[in-house]
C-alpha cells in the first residue's frame, strides 16, 4: 500500500514536471519551428507543428535586408564592448572596496548600492538631457557607457575578492610589486570565476536590453536588434515569416551562452546577480 502510494506520487510528480516543461518550452519551440516554414505554410489550416517543407528562405530574406545585419552587429558591438568595460569597472571597484582601507570607504559603497533605488525608468527624462550634454546622444557609446557601472557587478566582485587571502598581496608588495602590477598579475587571474559570472550576466542583459537603446538612439541606422524587432512588430502589416526568423536569430546567442555556461547561471542568480 505504502509502496503503491509512493509510486503514484512519483508518476504524478513526473507528469507535473513534463506539463510544466512543455508549457515553458512550447512557445519558444513554436516560434523556432514556424520560422522554418515556407510563407505559404505558416498560416495553413490545419496547422501542423512541424514544417512540412523545411526552408531557410525566411532567414535568407531577413539577412538580405541589409539593415537587419547592421542591427545585429550594432547589438553585438554594444553587448561585447559594454561587457568588457563592465567587467573591468566591477573588478577594479570590487578590489578597491575589499582590499584597501580608506576614509569614507563604507559610505561610498553604500552610496553605490543605493543607486539601485534609482532605475533608468525613473530618470529617463534627465538622463536624456545628460546624454545630450555629454555628446553621447544617438551614439552606440551612449548605450554602452552609462549603464556599464552596475551596483550588482561591484557587489559581486567585492564579495568574491574578500575571500582572496591578504597575505598574497602583502607578499607581492614586499617583493616590490606595484599596486597596478598586483592587480593585473595576481588579482585578475585569480578572479576568473567571478569574471565569468559578470561577463555572462552583462552580455545577456545588454543583448536583451531595450529601454536604454530606445532612449539613446534616434537614428534608424544605429538601432539594436531588439529595437528593430519592436519596430517590426509595431507595423500594421507584419511579415510574420521574416519576423519569426529574425526573432530566432535574436534568441540564438543567449540560448547558446546559457547551454555552455549553465553552472554560472544558477550560482550567479542565487548570489544576487539581478539584471541591472
Amino acid at each position: 500500500m505504502i509502496m503503491n502510494n509512493r509510486k503514484t506520487f512519483k508518476i504524478l510528480h513526473y507528469a507535473l514536471l513534463v506539463i510544466l516543461t512543455a508549457f515553458f518550452l512550447f512557445p519558444v519551440l513554436w516560434v523556432v519551428l514556424s520560422s522554418f516554414k515556407p510563407q505559404s505554410e505558416l498560416f495553413q489550416i490545419p496547422i501542423k507543428i512541424l514544417p512540412q517543407q523545411w526552408t531557410f528562405e525566411n532567414y535568407i530574406e531577413a539577412m538580405s535586408r541589409g539593415d537587419f545585419v547592421r542591427y545585429f552587429s550594432n547589438s553585438l558591438f554594444v553587448a561585447v564592448t559594454a561587457t568588457i568595460i563592465t567587467v573591468l569597472i566591477s573588478i577594479m571597484a570590487g578590489y578597491g572596496f575589499s582590499k584597501y582601507f580608506f576614509i569614507g570607504r563604507d559610505f561610498l559603497f553604500m552610496v553605490m548600492l543605493a543607486t539601485l533605488m534609482i532605475p533608468l525608468q525613473v530618470i529617463m527624462v534627465p538622463i536624456f538631457l545628460q546624454l545630450k550634454a555629454s555628446g553621447l546622444l544617438n551614439t552606440l557609446w551612449g548605450i554602452i557607457i552609462p549603464p556599464s557601472a552596475t551596483p550588482t557587478g561591484i557587489f559581486l566582485a567585492r564579495q568574491y575578492m574578500a575571500t582572496l587571502p591578504n597575505s598574497m598581496i602583502e607578499a607581492a608588495r614586499i617583493d616590490g610589486a606595484g599596486e597596478s602590477r598586483i592587480f593585473f598579475h595576481i588579482i585578475l587571474p585569480l578572479s576568473k570565476p567571478i569574471i565569468a559570472t559578470i561577463t555572462i550576466f552583462s552580455f545577456m542583459w545588454r543583448w536583451n536590453d531595450y529601454l536604454w537603446p530606445l532612449i539613446v538612439i534616434l537614428d534608424d541606422k544605429k538601432q539594436t536588434i531588439q529595437q528593430a524587432l519592436a519596430n517590426f512588430v509595431g507595423q500594421l502589416q507584419i511579415n510574420w515569416s521574416q519576423l519569426l526568423a529574425m526573432t530566432t536569430v535574436a534568441i540564438l546567442p543567449v540560448i547558446i551562452i546559457f547551454l555552455v555556461f549553465q553552472k554560472y547561471f544558477m550560482t550567479g542568480i542565487s548570489s544576487g546577480a539581478v539584471k541591472g
Binding site: 514536471l17 510544466l20 516543461t21 508549457f23 515553458f24 518550452l25 512557445p27 519558444v28 516560434v31 496547422i47 569597472i89 566591477s90 577594479m92 571597484a93 578590489y95 578597491g96 572596496f97 584597501y100 580608506f102 561610498l108 552610496v111 543607486t115 533605488m117 534609482i118 532605475p119 525608468q121 525613473v122 530618470i123 527624462v125 534627465p126 538631457l129 545628460q130 557607457i145 552609462p146 549603464p147 557601472a149 608588495r173 614586499i174 599596486e179 597596478s180 543583448w207 536583451n208 536590453d209 531595450y210 531588439q226 524587432l229 519592436a230 512588430v233 510574420w240 519569426l244 526573432t247 535574436a250 543567449v254 540560448i255 546559457f258 544558477m266 542568480i269 542565487s270 544576487g272 539581478v274
Partner: protein, 303 residues
C-alpha cells in the same frame, strides 16, 4: 642589511601608492554613478518643479506639476493599472516559482537538471522577443490558440485587442517569462535548508505535508519575501512587454506608469510634468528597494 633597506624603501613608496590606488580603482565606477545616476536624479527632481520642454520656454512653476498630477485621470489610471498588474503578477509568480522550486528541489531526481534548464529558458529571452512569440500564439485570426478553440467549435477570442482579456494576457505572459528566474532563487533557498531537519521530523513521525508547513515554509520565509520584493520592483518598472503586446491598449486598459512617463516626456514634450510622475514612481520603487535591503539584511542575521 641591503635587504632591509630595500624593504623599507618599497614600503614607504607603497604607502603613498596604497592611498592613491584604491581611489583610482574606484574612480571609473564612481564617476559613472555620479554623472549618469546621481546628477540626473537631482536634475529630475529640479525639473519636476518646472515647465520644461525641448521646444518651449522653461520656467519654475513650484508645485504646479504635482497639483495637476493629482487630478490627471490618465495618470491615475496607469497607477491603478500598475498596482493591479503588480499585485496579481507578484502573487502568482511567487506561488508558481515556489511550486516549481518544490517540484525541482530533489537533486537525486532523474533528469532534474534538464527540467530546471527548460523552465529557465523563457527568462533568458528579451521581453521584446517574448512579446513577439506570444503575439504570434495569441493572434486573432492566425494564432494557434484561437485555431485550437475554433476546432472545438468556439469562435475564438480577441486576446490582446479586447478590454476584457488584454491585461490578463499581459500578466499571464509576464509570469511565463519570469517564473524560471524566481524559481532559481527559490531553489537556492530550499537547498540551504539543512537536510537533517527533515530526517529528524521523519523520525518524529511527521509526514511530508507537515514537514512542508512546519520546516520548509518558516525557513524559506526570507527567500519568499525576497522574491516578492524583487518581483514587485520589476513589475513597477515594466515597459517592454506591454509596448510589444498591446501598446497600452485597448484604450488605456494595459497602460502602465512607465509607458505614460515615456509618452508625456518624449511624445508630448512635457519633460517637467513627466519628471513629477517619475518622482512618484521613484518613491514607490525606493520604498520597495529599502524593504529588499532589510529582508536580505535580516537573512544575514539569521545565518
Amino acid at each position: 642589511m641591503k635587504c632591509i633597506r630595500l624593504g623599507t624603501r618599497s614600503a614607504s613608496r607603497g604607502n603613498f601608492n596604497q592611498i592613491l590606488a584604491p581611489l583610482l580603482f574606484i574612480a571609473p565606477a564612481f564617476l559613472i554613478f555620479l554623472w549618469f545616476i546621481i546628477v540626473p536624479a537631482f536634475q529630475g527632481l529640479r525639473m519636476s518643479f518646472m515647465d520644461y520642454g525641448f521646444f518651449s520656454e522653461s520656467a519654475f512653476v513650484g508645485l504646479d506639476n504635482f497639483s495637476r498630477l493629482m487630478s490627471d485621470k490618465v495618470f491615475w489610471i496607469t497607477v491603478k493599472n500598475t498596482i493591479y498588474y503588480s499585485l496579481i503578477t507578484v502573487l502568482l509568480l511567487t506561488i508558481f516559482s515556489l511550486f516549481s522550486g518544490l517540484l525541482l528541489h530533489d537533486n537525486a531526481l532523474k533528469g532534474v537538471k534538464i527540467f530546471r534548464a527548460s523552465m529557465y529558458i523563457p527568462s533568458l529571452l528579451s521581453m521584446i522577443t517574448v512579446g513577439i512569440a506570444w503575439r504570434f500564439i495569441l493572434g486573432d485570426q492566425m494564432g494557434i490558440v484561437n485555431y485550437l478553440l475554433r476546432t472545438f467549435g468556439h469562435d475564438g477570442i480577441q486576446w490582446l485587442t479586447s478590454r476584457k482579456t488584454a491585461m490578463s494576457c499581459v500578466i499571464f505572459v509576464s509570469i511565463w517569462a519570469q517564473t524560471g528566474y524566481y524559481m532559481v532563487i527559490m531553489l537556492s533557498g530550499l537547498q540551504a535548508i539543512p537536510h537533517e531537519l527533515y530526517e529528524a521530523a521523519k523520525i518524529d513521525g511527521a509526514n511530508s505535508y507537515k514537514a512542508f508547513w512546519h520546516i520548509t515554509l518558516p525557513l524559506l520565509k526570507s527567500t519568499v519575501l525576497a522574491v516578492m520584493v524583487l518581483a514587485t520592483i520589476a513589475s513597477f518598472k515594466a515597459y517592454e512587454l506591454i509596448s510589444v503586446m498591446t501598446q497600452g491598449g485597448p484604450g488605456y486598459s494595459t497602460k502602465l506608469i512607465v509607458q505614460q512617463i515615456y509618452q508625456v516626456a518624449f511624445t508630448e514634450d512635457r519633460l517637467g510634468y513627466a519628471s513629477s510622475m517619475s518622482i512618484v514612481l521613484m518613491i514607490i520603487i525606493g520604498l520597495f528597494t529599502l524593504l529588499q535591503f532589510r529582508i536580505v539584511g535580516s537573512e544575514y542575521d539569521y545565518e
